[in-house]
């Protein structure tokens, strides 16, 4: 599997995933759902996604004008691992937002609680995705 294909697929997963999450939060913000806690909620989502997304977009932008003369082949398992972990990570964040109405807790409180398990997870994802960029 060629490296530039892997990069594009991982980038698409991240961009689409983060876009969906941010759209939901944006609509919630417009509806004043997080009154008085907007900073906490947006701070949480950006902290969870922005480091990896910045890495992906930054490297891809940098490589835009570089000719890919000798395409590098990537181990399929490594790619699947990075893709799978990325999907699970974005899904977990999405579930926190989407299942919040059933929990009885506000999102700003859930997000603070989730830092405990999302932070180490983010470290693993960074290692896995960073390999491709």
């Amino acid at each position: 599997m060629e490296l530039h294909v892997c990069k594009r697929r991982i980038a698409l997963i991240w961009i689409i995933g983060v876009l969906i999450l941010c759209t939901i939060l944006f609509l919630q913000t417009l509806a004043n759902k997080h009154e008085g806690h907007i900073n906490e909620v947006w701070g949480w989502i950006l902290q969870c996604t922005l480091p990896i997304l910045s890495l992906i977009i930054g490297v891809m932008t940098l490589n835009t004008f570089q000719a890919d003369i000798n395409p590098i082949q990537v181990d399929k398992f490594t790619f699947n691992l990075a893709t799978g972990l990325s999907l699970i990570y974005i899904l977990v964040i999405g579930l926190i937002i989407l299942l919040q109405p059933f929990t009885g807790k506000p999102l700003w409180q859930l997000s603070a609680d989730s830092n405990l398990y999302l932070a180490p997870f983010q470290g693993i994802i960074s290692g896995s995705v960073g390999l491709f960029y």
Partner: protein
């Protein structure tokens, strides 16, 4: 006179030095005493301040004793070493202070004593002195009134007695010494409400009432029919009935059990269909709580400046009496008495930790009472 003052001052200084725990008395005119009793109330709550409080009261007492020394004979009670001759004299000395003070100051409306008492104080109390026992161990409060007017007495006592204290009223004009148990006081004037309505303006609900008990039974029936939990409080020239804080629907109707008294966020808005879910996802859950307070009094009143919180309403409810005493129920309900319903409605949003008092624009008091089926039963 001069030498007597000097002797007495010295005797009291010795008492302070020996740190004798005796009844302590402080007295002032009406305004001063009101201010002072609130300070005392605050201080006696914390035991660590007790010693300082006693010391301050002792200082006041020395000054006070010098002013009334002509008629007060301290030598009768205090021995040469500066101590009391016996425990009973600790009580007698207190009572003599009261009597002398009232003779000296014609305009004095009441005097207050706070202190630790050993022995059975009640057996030694004179006819026209009120005794209020604090829940604190051995702490006792005396009140003596100069007035013969029962209405004024009640007003003064209402302001003086601690919220958690019952008082025993001993009338000097009757040998029977009746005991009137007043409900604990409601904050007065009441905190600003979300909505209010005067139920006596219709001249239908309480037209035939002659006594407090009649009014109480009508309201009790209306509340009981709708499964309301209630408590009773005293207010100047009347009483108040409060309902337990309940969760209500947006239209003002009560929630069904078990959600009625479940204040968790999940019970406020149950997600049944996709519409509820999307509503909760994008707009957040919110809910309404309500407590109704019926005020029965002939005294005009407004609102205090202090807004009440959801927690304060819950705490207040726990302090009220479950029922009115028969003596209290026999108080006359006159043509001047009004029955006012105050609605305290709180709105809680998902993002907030505490519910906030709703502004008066949401629902009218009549809507609240109609939706809660209270008006229909009152009729």
């Amino acid at each position: 006179m001069y030498y007597k003052n000097i002797i007495m001052r010295r005797l009291y200084l010795i008492l302070i030095f020996l740190n004798i725990s005796s009844p302590l008395v402080y007295s002032q005119t009406m305004m001063g005493a009101k201010k002072y009793i609130s300070q005392i109330e605050e201080k006696i709550r914390t035991s660590k301040d007790q010693i300082m409080l006693e010391y301050r009261l002792f200082q006041d007492r020395i000054q006070w004793a010098s002013e009334i020394s002509d008629s007060f004979n301290i030598d009768k009670y205090v021995n040469k070493n500066g101590g009391f001759k016996n425990n009973i004299d600790k009580i007698n000395i207190e009572l003599e202070y009261f009597n002398n003070l009232h003779q000296e100051y014609e305009n004095l409306e009441y005097s207050i004593g706070v202190g630790k008492i050993e022995g059975d104080i009640k057996s030694k109390i004179q006819n026209d002195i009120f005794v209020a026992e604090s829940k604190s161990e051995n702490l006792i409060k005396y009140i003596k009134l100069n007035t013969e007017n029962l209405e004024i007495e009640n007003k003064i006592l209402y302001e003086l007695i601690n919220k958690n204290t019952k008082y025993e009223y001993i009338n000097k004009n009757t040998k029977a010494k009746p005991i009137i148990l007043m409900p604990p006081p409601f904050p007065w004037p009441p905190p600003p409400a979300s909505a209010e309505i005067n139920l006596t303006e219709d001249h239908t609900y309480f037209a035939n009432c002659k006594k407090f008990g009649d009014v109480s039974s009508i309201i009790d029936n209306a509340l009981g029919a709708n499964d309301y939990e209630k408590r009773y409080f005293s207010i100047p020239n009347g009483f108040a009935i409060t309902t337990k804080l309940e969760v209500i629907n947006e239209d003002g109707s009560s929630k069904n059990q078990p959600d009625r008294y479940d204040f968790s966020m999940n019970s406020l808005l149950k997600i049944i269909d996709i519409r509820d879910y999307l509503n909760a996802l994008f707009f957040g859950k919110s809910g309404y709580y309500r407590s109704i307070v019926f005020i029965i009094t002939d005294q005009p009143f407004g609102s205090s400046a202090n807004k009440v919180s959801e927690t304060e309403i819950k705490e207040l409810m726990s302090k009220g009496d479950y029922f009115l005493s028969n003596e209290f129920k026999n108080n006359p309900f006159t043509i001047n008495h009004q029955v006012i319903a105050l609605i305290y409605e709180f709105q809680i949003k998902e993002s907030d930790k505490l519910a906030l008092l709703s502004p008066p624009i949401r629902l009218t008091a009549r809507t609240h009472l109609t939706k809660s089926n209270i008006i229909s039963i009152l009729k």
